[in-house]
């Protein structure tokens, strides 16, 4: 078996990395084979991202050694790693919002003309080529700020592609892509490996692993568990190794007795402030009852996030139509009014919308319900601490102290902090926008179960998800959005992937 192995491009040996209070990696080894997809799997906090950050030159202080084509190397930074042929697509987006797609892709490596000035026509041509390979239909001159997260992800991918790296690391590249876009990416990955590129692929989606991976490495809690060719293992076995125990039954939703209608939306429209007479959402109507979970499915740009934010009072007077909470008509001119009526919103992007990263777990957790932590009109740290400690152990937020900064937590734990923030407001209606994006199976199941519990306690839930299996598993009924309009309604017994996808696709004719 050793002889048949292809060339090793990059290898990590005995890598350890210490963060304040956490040993993120403990004597981990990892090999990247040329022309193969080398997958890494593991739960949140298993150390996947940390290992990749070391291989791509983000961290330079670690123990152990990195070998590039058999030679020991030590990268002084990401630019150094890129020069030596290693590029990474990060899970979080690292784009400059007010530069165009083309400028972002060639940032720091702009093609120059004979005068030493930026050769814009060349840059544009190259960008068009790249975007074409990704079947991404946007002008290279469009500003990144005007793109949705999923589209920005595609720009990240284009940027990494343009480096023509020998080793391309992808950290959850599909977390905000639609299924169609993910398909395009997969074809591209095949193309790259055929050309000898070593692709490192991190994901939580097991179906992607079985579809793509040639080799799999399993990490758990910062330790190396196993590495083997994919054909010698199975998804079930991998999951077992990731969690270190038998795979729990996939989440099964319980049926709850439905109560009163908590949220009713009638003909909701959202005006487009930039284009007179146009609407970003048009004539959306639905009801959610106590104990019920409504799923909202749609492709990127269908208006899912806008719908959530419009319900939450973020757009003020741009919203038309009627909204009823517990049968009483309401009008939210700001988010505060929505919170006061018992709404909660778990936003799509934890880092930029859900958390104040420089604040502690404690301060983040109490931020939406501070009025409950007053004593004689002043904040009581004692009350805060007691409540947060309770939430921290109830939701199993992995951290060494409630005073730890939110920025130091892994994605799944950050999401739990956002969830506990809203649970403390005792909401009646919980809006969840992609609640499990970029989160491992174990944490996902925890979050599904929590959602189910909330419905069981008589809350009404509205969940946006772009993963079909997920939305079908958690919802009682689903509405589909397409280009800002309601394009389908499904009761639980009518759910099927085909039907949902068909409703969500534009230009059905």
């Amino acid at each position: 078996m050793y002889e048949s192995d292809p060339e090793i491009l990059l290898e990590a040996r005995h890598i350890s990395k210490q963060f304040p209070g956490v040993l993120a990696l403990n004597d981990v080894g990892f090999k990247v084979y040329a022309g193969k997809v080398n997958a890494i799997v593991g739960e949140n906090g298993a150390g996947k991202s940390t290992l990749m950050n070391i291989l791509s030159g983000v961290y330079s202080d670690y123990q152990g050694e990195v070998l590039l084509c058999g030679r020991p190397v030590s990268f002084s930074g990401t630019a150094d790693a890129q020069r030596q042929g290693i590029a990474m697509i990060h899970q979080e987006l690292n784009l400059v919002p007010y530069l165009s797609i083309a400028q972002n892709i060639f940032l720091g490596r702009e093609p120059l003309n004979a005068l030493g000035l930026i050769d814009f026509p060349q840059m544009k041509r190259d960008t068009v080529d790249l975007l074409e390979r990704l079947h991404f239909d946007e002008s290279p001159e469009k500003l990144v700020i005007d793109l949705r997260p999923g589209q920005q992800q595609i720009v990240e991918i284009a940027k990494a592609l343009s480096l023509q790296a020998k080793v391309l690391i992808m950290d959850e590249p599909t977390s905000s892509l639609s299924e169609k876009e993910a398909g395009i990416l997969f074809r591209l990955i095949r193309e790259l490996t055929e050309n000898g590129v070593g692709v490192v692929y991190i994901t939580h989606k097991m179906n992607e692993i079985s579809l793509l991976a040639d080799y799999v490495t399993v990490l758990r809690d910062g330790c190396f568990i196993e590495a083997c060719p994919m054909e010698q293992t199975s998804v079930d076995e991998l999951v077992r190794k990731m969690v270190g125990r038998e795979r729990k039954d996939f989440f099964i939703k319980r049926q709850h007795r439905l109560g009163e209608c908590l949220l009713a939306v009638k003909d909701l429209c959202l005006r487009d402030p930039l284009r007179e007479g146009k609407y970003r959402l048009k004539d959306i109507s639905f009801e959610v009852y106590a104990g019920q979970v409504l799923g909202i499915y749609g492709l990127m740009g269908a208006g899912r996030t806008e719908l959530m934010e419009a319900l939450f009072g973020l757009y003020g007077k741009q919203v038309e139509g009627r909204v009823f909470v517990k049968g009483r008509q309401v009008k939210f001119n700001n988010t505060n009014a929505a919170v006061a009526e018992g709404l909660a919103l778990i936003p799509e992007d934890r880092k930029t919308e859900g958390l104040v990263l420089d604040m502690s777990i404690e301060q983040n957790t109490t931020l939406a319900s501070l009025k409950n932590f007053l004593k004689h009109g002043l904040l009581s740290f004692k009350k805060e601490r007691a409540t947060v400690e309770e939430m921290r152990s109830k939701l199993e937020i992995k951290s060494y102290s409630g005073l730890q900064l939110a920025s130091q937590l892994s994605g799944g734990n950050q999401q739990k902090v956002v969830l506990s923030k809203w649970l403390l407001t005792k909401p009646g209606i919980v809006l969840l926008d992609e609640p499990t994006r970029g989160i491992d199976i174990h944490s996902k199941n925890e979050i599904y179960k929590l959602m189910d519990d909330l419905a069981g306690q008589g809350m009404a839930l509205v969940v946006v998800s772009s993963e079909l299996p997920e939305i079908m598993a958690v919802s009682d009924k689903i509405i589909c959005l397409c280009e800002g309009r309601l394009s389908g309604r499904f009761e639980r017994d009518e759910f099927s992937e085909e039907a949902l996808l068909k409703a969500a696709l534009p230009d059905k004719a």
Binding site: T335, N336, T352, V356, M359, L379
Partner: protein
Amino acid sequence: MKKNFKVIIDKPVIKPLVALLLMVGVMSVLSGNFATTDNFFNVLRQVSVNLCISVGMTMVILTGGIDLSVGSILALSGAVAAGLSKNGFSFPAADLYVGFTFWGCILAALLIGAALGAFNGWMITRFKVPPFVATLAMLTIARGLTMLYTKGFPITGLGESFSFLGTGWFLGVPMPVWVALLIVAFFAFFMLKTRTGRYIYAIGGNKKASLLSGIKVNKIILWVYTLAGILSAVAGLMVTARLDSAQPNAGSGYELDSIAAVVIGGTSLSGGKGSIAGTVVGALIIGVLNNGLVLLNVSPFWQQVIKGFVILGAVILDKVSPGKSEN
């Protein structure tokens, strides 16, 4: 209580505090006149004006904003207090004359400060004018209004109560120092123990997340600029009372000293991180430096150069922490 103390003396304050103590040590060695009781209160009295402004500036900067208009608001409110105290308010066309007591003058000055600060906040929140631009505009508006009100001449001779505020002593401590102490204590407590204080940090740390947490972001920002205006007015009263006169160009350039104090104290200009305690240390560093360099007969030109380097040094010191390399 002990825990609260620990939170107030947050780690980031330690470094500027050490720098301050070092500077005090060096000055004491170099100049025989530095470490005297007289000079001690002298420094504190000089610092108290900047301190008042800087407390407001700290809150503004914590939200991620900036206030360049503090010096001009200081001048206008000081001038109005002085003018009302001396001449009252008369409106000949309606045959109207209103005289002002000492407290009436104080109230009027504070209201002027509040109104101009609120105007800043209104421009920033309602019309989305960047804080830098909104308060830069107010810098010249308020200065112009001061010139109009004083016709370009100082207003002098304000009477007993004012001179007590400016130069009096109470329990062995100068009055301006008392005022600054009270303000510092109140706002340090305010930032730590009230919801508004917490929200100010949250807004500076992540505005969108704060908004989505149901915080009335615009209302808080409006308040913060209003408070900064009021605190500038307090500083204006202190300056006017100390000199027993309102100068039309009082307070010009004060925004720089106050931003410097905030930054030296470890507050991040991008918002969300910092403390009033740090600002106190920052203001003291500037005060000790000003005072010490004068005692050492350093030329005023060199003083400015040195002050600039101290600002740079403080910020660099704050950025460099062991075990953390940034690219």
